[in-house]
Amino acid sequence: MLHTVNKSPFNHNSLETCLKYAAPGSAVLLIEDGVYAAAQGTAVARQLRDVMKNVPIYALRPDVEARGIQNRVLEGVQLVDYAGFVDLAAEHSSVQSWL
């Protein structure tokens, strides 16, 4: 399953709940304000590092760049463009959008 998260982890619990349900074999794609979770040195960085041992985490590059965090993306978070987003959706059997 591909999980997408579009909310900042500092104002919503969407990411927290998503990560609770992200089982091995699934992937997480951060989009829109969700990409703030991909920055280094945040309160959620440790949790993301733990999750990335089992589940890959991606962030949508245009959203990352729009928010100016392209130079401080957490190590291990993979940046994808819109075509990459489509590939991820196609590779997984289902998509769950955490709002």
């Binding site: 709940t17 074999g25 059997s93 289902s94 959008s97 709002l99």
Partner: protein, 128 residues
């Protein structure tokens, strides 16, 4: 449903995942509307309640003074539409000081691990 299959119709597993409390935003009511519409298409439907979504099912909601629709009794009608798989996450329920007795309909109370397994069986997940 068998007849539907013979005619070439495909039954998919749909799960509606509710994570918002009932009256503060329109999400909960919209979700219920979509569940009812979807029920007409004879798919394999389940409805999950996690985080504040659990509040949608609490007994005793009275919205008269607020002047908005109290849609909580509608959950009791879902059975008539063959929507009988209502899943509530245990941790979310307990964190809010609730038990299954506080809920307006019978539900299956599940651990996060059981809920994860149920989600992974789905063809389509719609989150609200």
């Amino acid at each position: 449903m068998d007849e539907e299959m013979e005619q070439g119709g495909t039954i998919k597993k749909f799960m509606y995942v509710n994570r918002k409390a009932p009256h503060g935003t329109i999400y909960a009511l919209e979700s219920l509307e979509v569940v009812l519409i979807g029920a007409a298409f004879e798919q394999d439907v389940s409805v999950a309640f996690i985080d504040d979504g659990v509040y949608q099912l609490t007994k005793g909601q009275d919205t008269k003074a607020l002047g908005v629709k109290n849609f909580s009794p509608t959950f009791r009608a879902l059975e008539d539409y063959d929507v009988t798989k209502l899943y509530v996450e245990k941790e979310s329920m307990e964190a809010r000081g609730l038990t299954a007795d506080d809920l307006i309909v019978p539900v299956s109370v599940m651990s996060a691990a059981e809920m994860t397994a149920a989600m992974n069986e789905q063809d389509v997940l719609l989150n609200f």
